[in-house]
Structure formats: C-alpha cells, structure tokens
Subunit: 355 residues, 3 copies
C-alpha cells in the first residue's frame, strides 16, 4: 500500500526560491537552480527532496544523507555531505515547515471529501435565514442553523453542524462531525473532526431535590488562526465567555471548561484539561494530559510539563510540573530520588526481561 | 461581536415573584415590584439584572455592585450597597440558579438548530418499525433505528443516531452527533454532542492466536434527569448492565467502562475515567481527570479529588485524593512537603520570571 | 424495561459441540446432549445457560450455581455442584468467550441501525470515483469520498465519513460518526463510534509571527483484526506513517500522536495517551489513562500500569508504573509507604464516615 499518495507531487521549486521564501541562505550559490519537488525526513530524503537537521543528535543521519537539500544551522553545515545543498538558517525546523507549506500546500488545510470546494452540496441543509458569503463550501450532511453566518472560503465538512446564530469567519475549515453552538469563530481557524464547541458548561448548585442546573448563557469566542484538534470539547461560558486567543493551538481530546480564557499563541497538547474559569496568559505551553485547576491564573510564557496538575497560580515565565505542580527543578529532583530508589533496589528483578 | 445574543431577553419578573419562586426573602419589601429581566455576574450586573454573592471573597465586587438585586446570605446582606435589593437565602448560588432558570428558560435545554421543535425533518431517517410518540423532534440527518422508541417532547438532534431497539424517554435532548446503541434512556435526560452510549465494552481473553473478543451483551441504563457532557463514552455491560443513576451529572470526555454502576445524584467532572465493574454509590463527587479502578466500590457521599487514582474501595462519606488515593489529610500533607522542598530550594531560580 | 432483549436467543448448541469448538473437556460425557441457548455470569446463569469460574474468588458463587454448564479449571471442577456440567479448560474465560461468540454471534460485530446489511442506502453519498466491492453496506448519512476503496462485507455506519483516497478492507465495521482521512484500514477491523483517524498531527515550529504549522503528509495504517473504541483519536504521521499493528485493541478516548508505531496484539485501555513518535512493541499492555512520552520505545511484552507516566524507554517484558514510571516493585513500595502515612495518622478522622 506504500504507493498510495494522498498529496500531489509538486512540479518543483528552485533552491534559490526556497532559500528566499524560507529566510535561509544557500551555502553554495552554484546550486541555486536545483529543483526540489518534495519533503522527507533526514533519514530517507532523496535527491529531489528537502529535509532538515535540527541538532547534533541528527549527525549520524546527516552524514549519510542523500537529500537534495537540507536546512541546517551554520554550526551543523560543516557536516553536510558533498552533493547535498545546505540552506543555512537559525531554526532549521521552521525553515523546513515553511518549505513544506510551499511544496505540499494541500496539507496546510484538511482536504474536502470530494476534492472540490466552493459549493453547497444539495445533501446539506442550510437554514433559509442563514447568511453565507460567496465561496463557502458546505459538504453533504452538514447543517447550518438559523441566522448563522459563514465567511467566504470557509469549508463546513460532512456532518458538521453550525448552531443557530453562530458565526464562522473566512477561510476556516470546520471538520467532519464538528458541532458549534453559541460560538463565534474568527478567520483562518481549523477545527478537526468531532470537536464540540459551545455546549453547556458544567454547572450545578445543590438543591432540595438533588442538583439544580445553572443555566449557561455565555458564548465561546475563538479568535483568528486558532487550530483545534479532534474530539476536543470547549464549553461555553456560564455568564461570561470562554475565549481562545489568536494563534493558539489545541490538540486532540482536550477539555476546556466554561469561562476559561486562553491567551494568544498558546500550545495545549493532547488530553489537557482546563477547569472552569482558569485564565491562561499568552505564549503558554501545556504538556499532554496536564490538568489545570479552576480559577487559577497561568502567567505569560509559562511552561507546564505533561501529566502535571496545576493547583495554584503559576508565575509568568515559570517552568512547572508534577502533582501538585511546582518548579521543575523540584520535580526532577523528586523523580531522580524515586528512580534511584526503584532502580537501585529492583533492577534485574522486575525491571526487565533478561535476554 | 459583543452584541450578539443567543438568548432572548426576558420581559421581566418582579422581585416578589423571584423571591417566592426561588425560596428567598426580599429584605426591603418596598422593592417587591422592581422588575428584573436578566442575570449577570456580580462584577457587571446592571440595574435590571439579578446576581449573587456566595462568600466573603465576593465582598469587593459586592460593595461596588449596581445590580437590581442580589442573592446573599443573611450575614453578607449587611454589605449590600444602597439601591441593590437583597434576596436573603442560605444558598445564594442555588437561588441564582433558580432565578436564571426562570429568566433564561431557553438555556435549561440545548436549542435546536432551527429554533423550532415538534417535527420530524424530511432529511432525517426514521425506520418504519420505530415508534415515536407525538411531539418528538428529529432534526436533519438524524437516524432512528429499527424498533426504537422515543417519548414525546424529546429532541433527537442533527446527525444523532438511535440504535436498533433503543428507548429514549420523554423530554430528553439527544445532542448532535450522539450515538446510542443497546441503551435505555429515561426521561428528562440531556446528552451533549458527540457522546457515545452503548458501544461494546472492552473485553478480551487471551487466545492461541492473539486476543479473543468477549461478546458484550449487556445494556446501558440511563435513569431520569441525568445530564451527560460532550464526547463522553459509556460502554454497555458485558453480561450485566451499565447503569447511570437518577439525577447524576457527567461532564465532557468521561470514560465509563462496562458494568459500571453509578448511583443517584453523583457528579463526575471532565475526563474522569471509571474502569469496568466499579460501583459508585449515591451522591458521590469525583473531581476532574480522576481515575477509578475496575471492580472497586465507592461509598455514598464520598468525594474524590481531581487527578487522583482510586485503587481500592472508598468508605462512604470519605474525602480521598492522590495517587494512589487515600484520605485527603495525607495528600495535603504530602503536597505541602513537596512544595516546601520545591519552593524552599528553588524559588527565584526556575520558579518564575524576574521582572 | 428488563425484558428488552437486544440479541436473539440462540436455538441451542449441545455441550459436546461447545466442548469441541471451545477446546474444553466435558467432565461427564453423559451430559453431551444437554442444550445451551445462552450465556450469563456465574451469579445468575440458569439451566440453559453457560458460564465460567476463573479463580477461587468465584467459589461462593460457583457452589450455589444453577447453570447448565460452567467452564472451569481442573482444580476448580471439584467444587462444581451436582447438576451443573463441568467443561474443563486451562483458561475458563477464554472458553467462555469462544462459547459466547457461538451463542451470541450478533455481538461479535456491532449491529446496523436497520438490522440489515449489504446495500448502499439512498440517503448516503458515495463519490462516483469511489470503488466499492460487492456486499458493502453504507448506512444513511454516511459519505464515501473521492477515489476511496471499500472491501466486501464492510459496514460504513450512519454519518461516518471515509476520506478521499482512503482504503478500508473487508469485513470491517466503521461505526456511526467515525471519520477517516489519509488512512489505510486492513480487514476485520472494528472502529467504534466517533473515533477520528488520520487528521493532522500536532506539529508547529516557532516562527516570527507566532507558530508555523508543519504540514502533516504521512498516513495512518491500521492492520487487520484491530479494534478501536469510541471517541479515540489517531493522528496521521508528519512525514512517516502512524501504524497500529495487527490484532491490537484500543479502548475509548485514547490519543495516539503522529508517527506512533504500535506493534501486534497490544492492549491500550481507555484514556491512554501516546505522544508523537513513540514506538510500542508487540504484546504490550498499557493500563487506563497512562501517558507515554514522545519518542520513547516500549519493548515487547511490557506492561504499563494504569495512570502511570512513561518518560523513558521501557525494556521488553518489564512491568512498570508510577509517575515517572519505574519498575512496579518500587511503585508498590512507595504507595505502601504513602498509605501507611495516610491511614496510620488519619483513619477515623477524614478517612471515612463513622456509622
């Protein structure tokens, strides 16, 4: 099955074009006209492909590379084998990402099921009171609710539903089976399949005959250039709004509670949970499956390790981890002690199979 | 975009009506006729809105409030500024929840995509052998399987599927894209988008050529007044049933394994996982992302902290947390010790950004 | 509602047939003709039903059993009451699973909504360029994208979407609302509702104006006999493929990152997260909600405890747990110490309700 290709091969870009558009310097200008048609990992990039080497860990593969060109740092460029063109850049992975966007442009946004865009499928339902700009794609089985508004260039994929009075901006991709309710989505937003945005937050008060539902009357605001993974859930606010800031990237199976405010350019890795009314600054990175307590504040630029549990405010720029989360230095020391105890006493017993 | 309103403003209720229906006492009876049209948080409630103050933490906002009325405890009522009506009640948040249910009734159940109810959309599929009572709403793209039964007042939302022979009671809301299989759902149940109820439990036995699937022939029983969040998964029983008791509230992205029995009026917060055959009593609260081991029993009224891992039975009324879960007193002490070590040695090093 | 049956009763198999087909020995050959029509747990199996007793923990129920027959080990067979036929087998649960597959064959694969198979519903959308073998079932609201290929005997359930150029083998069940993109699925694969396979992996590089998306051009390969639970997410590879090996079983709400390679006959329990580029050997078992770090390798046959966090490579055959994960002996000792501290000091205070 290895021959199946989901993306079209590119007709090729010259190294001078790639260098210029990706902000890199071509080390050997005599190779300016070499054509590159695709991207590949360092270990198997061929003579028409471009790749990258990010650090000295890549050296063994780099020395054997047969790639057409490689993004490298100036320091690593001495190790590039003859015949491989060096594109020198401070951040080789970023250069590579930009090159890949040029060489495989179809991968920058999810594809439609038919491969076509720009029309409303007759097997979709668009409420007569909804307003669609020109050039909206609505796939089979999707439904656009009453008084909803969709901007041009946006794709509403098969089986997705856009709730009553929701707004989706321009050039968005709303994936298959996604549901939007009480949501205002900016432009250039990608939402992967099965994600749920804008359902009721989880709020109850104790009552005489059980739990009393607290009506959730806020919204979800998703700003421009946000990307949200698959099967994630973002609840709408209780009285205020839940907000996902510009350029923030959220992975799969993430839970965002009501009233959460996430700043710009944050990264939330898979299975993170953010409890209600937490406030997360700009440029915060949260590792996989970490849990953030309700009502805490995480300062700008903080980094939270995977699997940690944040119970208190985290200062700007801090690197925290563990359960309860605390500065990483303490976490690493505690882990080292646990490992010393575990491996010191038990190695060779239940620590692994003898061969 | 702040002007978009997903809910209709209410024409107004008098403070005497609100006090009576919410079980509160209006401190100044001369304000009995004041009309309230909406709800808002304490920090920004205006003169036609009602709000609440739950504890002394709310004092700064309370003292500046310009709300039309506020639910407060008797103790806090002295702090209510002139012009703001006090509705005195033991549990202000509960009073507020009841008032919100009166003032924003549309928020008590998710809305339909069209804003209308009570009809089967021609773009839905209802098997000829299914039985629908009068007044069932089936939205576009939903499917009702063979011999299924749906009670009056229930909404089956866009793209949801009700499996063969399933039953859904009256006045339920089955959200967009929800799937039911082998499930019997009571009345007044809300299931938010993308939740999966009744698929096969996860059961395999070791066999000669790999794993042998153990057929899962039980059901899922969801009792009345249950609310289940988005993208949650509840497997059907292996030989017996999986049961969710009356009035229990389950949040988003929760995993309930086969044969689990959950009692009445429990609260399971987002990303909780309950492994197969666990038994959970009545009135149990389980914090976010906690994991409950298979086959354990959690007694009535127990509270399990977020992110904890319950490996053993938990007595009724206990408050447990940590991994492995144990009485909270021990967890808090261990956390305090970890924090003392971490912050005592590392503060100002990797503990935060200096400004 | 207890009388509702989702499965047809079987007309009956003789004990000699069951013994032979399940690899068990019938202790009393005079019972060879006894007919069995169903399966039930030991505690309530009746005279036409078969059950199993796996260990001495089952003794109290076994001694009272009124089952028609019971799979037991030779050691336990002495305890089987008179009138109950003993089917002696080394692994009673495996025998029972095989018997259940014979007696409730409809439970071996999810049912269709209509109860019928083998046709493309007129309310489904199959792209004219897709290729379906004979005997494919496509339910209402499902969509098969351009150039996709589906093998005979496969069911594409209501509201599922098979992306452009995807391939699904023979005798698969693709559940309601499942989405496939950039995926090649083998034969005899079951995917439960709402699972997302083949969306973009989570890859960004730091750029001048925020985060730069790294195009994800790999695929997902799911080999034969895999079963995947509900609302799970499996991302496609960045440059290489994400691979799920033959016979592997994945539970609900599991997150599999890009480039992950999972071997044959593994078991991943609910809410596990496997970060990008991790490599998991054959026969690995990963307990519920465990997190596996990116780029680590887990050796063949290793077992990872529920709720643990694997940060480093795990040797073949090892049993690890905890956060960070280490050999279980250390984990159990640390847990025992934590429990001793917690219960030693606090029992009877916040450790439980006195009655």
């Amino acid at each position: 099955m290895d021959s199946i290709r989901f993306f079209q091969p590119h007709e090729g870009l010259s190294l001078s074009e790639l260098a210029e558009q990706c902000g890199a310097e071509l080390a050997d200008s005599s190779l300016a006209g070499r054509r590159i048609t695709g991207v590949a990992p360092l270990s198997r990039a061929a003579s028409e492909e471009i790749t990258f080497a990010n650090s000295r860990k890549a050296l063994p593969d780099l020395k054997k590379s047969k790639a057409g060109a490689v993004f490298v740092t100036a320091a690593l460029s001495k190790e590039v084998p003859e015949g491989v063109a060096s594109l020198i850049i401070a951040a080789p992975q970023t250069g590579f990402a930009l090159a890949a966007a040029l060489l495989v442009p179809d991968a920058m946004r999810p594809q439609t099921l038919s491969g076509h865009t720009g029309m409303v499928h007759p097997g979709a339902l668009v409420d007569p009171s909804a307003r669609l700009e020109d050039g909206v794609t609505v796939e089979f089985g999707a439904v656009i609710g009453a008084e909803a508004e969709i901007g041009s260039g946006t794709v509403i994929s098969a089986g997705a539903s856009v709730g009553r009075r929701c707004r989706v901006g321009r050039n968005c991709h709303i994936g298959p089976g996604v549901t939007l309710q009480h949501a205002l989505i900016g432009s250039d937003v990608i939402v992967h399949p099965g994600t749920r945005i804008g359902q009721d937050g989880f709020g109850y008060a104790p009552g005489p005959g059980g739990l009393v539902k607290i009506p959730q009357i806020g919204r979800v605001i998703v700003q421009d250039h946000v990307e949200i993974g698959a099967n994630t859930a973002i609840d709408r606010g209780a009285l205020d709004d839940t907000v996902i800031g510009e350029g923030t990237k959220i992975d799969n199976l993430v839970q965002i509670g009501h009233n959460v405010r996430i700043g710009r350019f944050c990264v939330l890795v898979g299975q993170v949970g953010v409890a209600g009314s937490a406030t997360i600054g700009n440029g915060v990175m949260i590792g996989g499956a970490a849990g953030i307590n309700g009502h805490v504040t995480i300062g700008d630029g903080a980094q939270i390790a995977a699997l940690s549990g944040v119970a208190t405010d985290v200062p700007a720029g801090a690197r925290w981890g563990g359960q309860p989360a605390r500065p990483m230095q303490g976490v690493l020391r505690d882990a080292a002690e646990a490992n010393a105890r575990a491996f010191g006493r038990s190695k060779g017993r239940d620590g692994g199979q003898k061969k």
